[in-house]
């Protein structure tokens, strides 16, 4: 009787296992996700900016492997520009006498992770239910990478308490959205991806301008430490 019992594989797991995967894209995507996680958890915006640039570079490699070289280099370019702006804005805190040089940390990580996990699972199930006209290994792997980066950016947005890293997280989500768009099997997807990339650059510049204005006026948790950060 026992011998008749066969271990069953969940159909969903089997479905995902049978999808085509490109290991090179997944490795570059994992590197990008690692750099992004480092960037979004650093409390020094300068180091966060460096890691954000590296995350953009690794995402560029993903897009190059996808055959979207122009979009890839433009992505790395935008990430570097936003990182420069973030580091320069962070320097404003130096002008405020007595301001803490370390940005406040994040909060409610578990809640944010749980929320984003539920959201990501819902989107992934919906995406897997669609019978896409093109489903090659590179597109699937790049889409998964972009989705993971977008989720990381969303976690960063939900857990930030100061402007500069909030902007980095929002820009990461926008860059991931551009990369995700480029994997769609439509002829206009490339054009939309560039528009989203321009949107990401504007999000970064606009957000950093607001952060700089609040820092210069002495507002925000960076200048005024929250109660739990105060000695």
């Amino acid at each position: 009787m026992i011998a008749l019992i066969q271990p069953s594989v969940d159909p969903a797991v089997e479905y995902v296992r049978q999808l085509p995967w490109a290991p090179s894209i997944l490795i570059a995507g994992a590197a990008s996700l690692g750099f992004a996680a480092f960037a979004l958890t650093r409390r020094h915006p300068g180091e966060a900016g460096l890691a954000f640039t590296l995350a953009g570079g690794a995402l560029a490699l993903v897009l190059v492997e996808l055959g979207q070289g122009r979009l890839g280099f433009a992505t790395a370019w935008v990430a570097a520009c936003v990182a420069i702006g973030a580091a320069l804005v962070a320097g404003v805190a130096r002008r405020v006498p007595g301001a803490p040089r370390t940005a406040p940390g994040n909060e409610q990580r578990l809640l944010a992770l749980g929320l984003v996990a539920v959201l990501a699972a819902a989107i992934a199930i919906a995406a897997l239910a669609v019978d896409w006209p093109r489903r090659d290994a590179a597109s699937v792997s790049a889409a998964v990478t972009a989705g993971a980066l977008g989720a990381a950016g969303l976690v960063g947005v939900l857990t930030r308490r100061h402007g500069v890293s909030l902007v980095l997280a929002a820009t990461l989500s926008a860059l991931a959205l551009a990369a995700l768009t480029s994997t769609l099997p439509f002829p206009q997807a490339g054009s939309f991806a560039f528009l989203l990339l321009a949107f990401a650059a504007l999000v970064g510049a606009g957000g950093l301008t607001l952060a700089a204005a609040s820092l210069e006026r002495g507002h925000g948790p960076w200048i005024e430490p929250l109660e739990e950060d105060a000695p």
Partner: protein
């Protein structure tokens, strides 16, 4: 990604070497004492002359720092310019109805193919790393020779650029020198990223010479990483004076990004060459010893107290001069198929390098004479 695996491997190798030199990467299980003893013997004399940086800790007006909103506007402009240039190429490709490059069918995995690919990666990475160091040393030697030649014909001028010297004993001595308290982790990370971006750009040139894709976009992105590193180092600097100098350098490098971006777009026209030459003077790694967003660097971070950081910035400075001099020729020439082609290309690059250094020396001695005594 295949054509960029070599540059990525070169950047990782450079980052590892720079991390060891800076002390960010610690090889606790390996004794490097023999290397340190050898370095201290070989480069003691050179170190003594290079160790004491000019004192830049004088009073600086921090309130006169570059306005942040202007810098942000510049950042947005540069970002949108990059997107527009890339999108223009994309739309042009769509209009021309050129199909995307077909994927190369993957060969069945075999140990022979893996070994061939791995050895190719190691070769490109090692070659790019050595070329970067060699280019920096060659530029330093040429700079010194040009300055001496100029001093021979123009009496009373200073023969050698004081902050542009770079030689092997100084590099070895800097790598073996004790660091002391040092700077924060972020400053070391910025130096590592700076040198890795330099080797990445050099490796892109190597790959292009071997038949790879055009090096222009990779070099452009790597050059934009230079202000990222300086801005991050400014943010993490422990001394306000160092922060000011690094921030000035980042703003200067960012401000000329549209100029060299246009040069890269229109290469290899005469306008592009002029833009690249100007960029070579203005966008190079290096922070001046004096505050000011447009104080030109003549050879790395002159006011940096750490000898290793100073040496790394000088290597990056010299190597970027060589990269910018070689880029138009490599982009036009394409893959090198014979030794004659390679020698002709090297001669052209050398000529461009000497012309650029001579023009820079003339500017330094005649147009900006106060900079010669920095």
């Amino acid at each position: 990604m295949d054509p960029y695996l070599g540059p990525v491997a070169g950047a990782l190798l450079a980052a590892f070497a720079a991390g060891i030199a800076l002390g960010v990467v610690r090889l606790r299980r390996l004794s490097l004492e023999w290397w340190r003893r050898r370095a201290s013997r070989a480069g003691a004399a050179a170190l003594n002359s290079a160790a004491d940086a000019p004192d830049a800790d004088g009073p600086l007006d921090l309130a006169a720092a570059p306005p942040v909103f202007g810098a942000l506007a510049l950042t947005a402009l540069v970002a949108l310019l990059g997107v527009a240039v890339a999108a223009r190429g994309e739309f042009a490709a769509v209009r021309a109805a050129t199909p995307p490059p077909a994927a190369v069918p993957a060969l069945p995995p075999s140990w022979t193919a893996f070994a061939a690919q791995a050895s190719g990666l190691v070769l490109v990475a090692g070659l790019a790393f050595l070329l970067t160091l060699g280019a920096a040393l060659a530029v330093s030697l040429l700079d010194r020779a040009v300055a001496r030649l100029l001093a021979r014909f123009v009496p009373g001028e200073r023969p050698v650029a004081p902050d542009g010297e770079l030689d092997v004993p100084a590099l070895v001595a800097a790598a073996g020198r004790e660091q002391g308290p040092g700077e924060p982790f972020g400053v070391g990370l910025a130096s590592i990223v700076l040198i890795a971006a330099t080797v990445f750009a050099m490796a892109s040139l190597v790959v292009a010479l071997g038949g790879g894709p055009s090096p222009v976009p990779a070099v452009a992105v790597a050059l934009l990483v230079v202000p990222v590193a300086y801005a991050a180092a400014a943010e993490r600097a422990s001394r306000p004076e160092a922060a000011r100098l690094r921030r000035d350098a980042a703003v200067r490098q960012l401000a000329v990004a549209p100029l060299w971006g246009a040069g890269l777009v229109f290469a290899p026209s005469a306008l592009a060459l002029a833009a690249l030459a100007l960029a070579g003077a203005l966008a190079l790694p290096g922070a001046s010893a004096q505050p000011g967003a447009f104080m030109l660097p003549w050879g790395g971070d002159a006011a940096e107290p750490s000898p290793v950081v100073r040496a790394l910035s000088r290597v990056a400075h010299g190597a970027w001069i060589a990269i910018l001099a070689a880029l138009p020729f490599v982009a036009v020439a394409g893959p090198v198929t014979s030794i004659v082609d390679g020698v002709a290309l090297a001669a052209r690059v050398l000529l461009a390098l000497v012309a650029f250094l001579a023009a820079r020396a003339m500017v330094r001695h005649f147009v900006l004479p106060h900079a010669a005594v920095a």
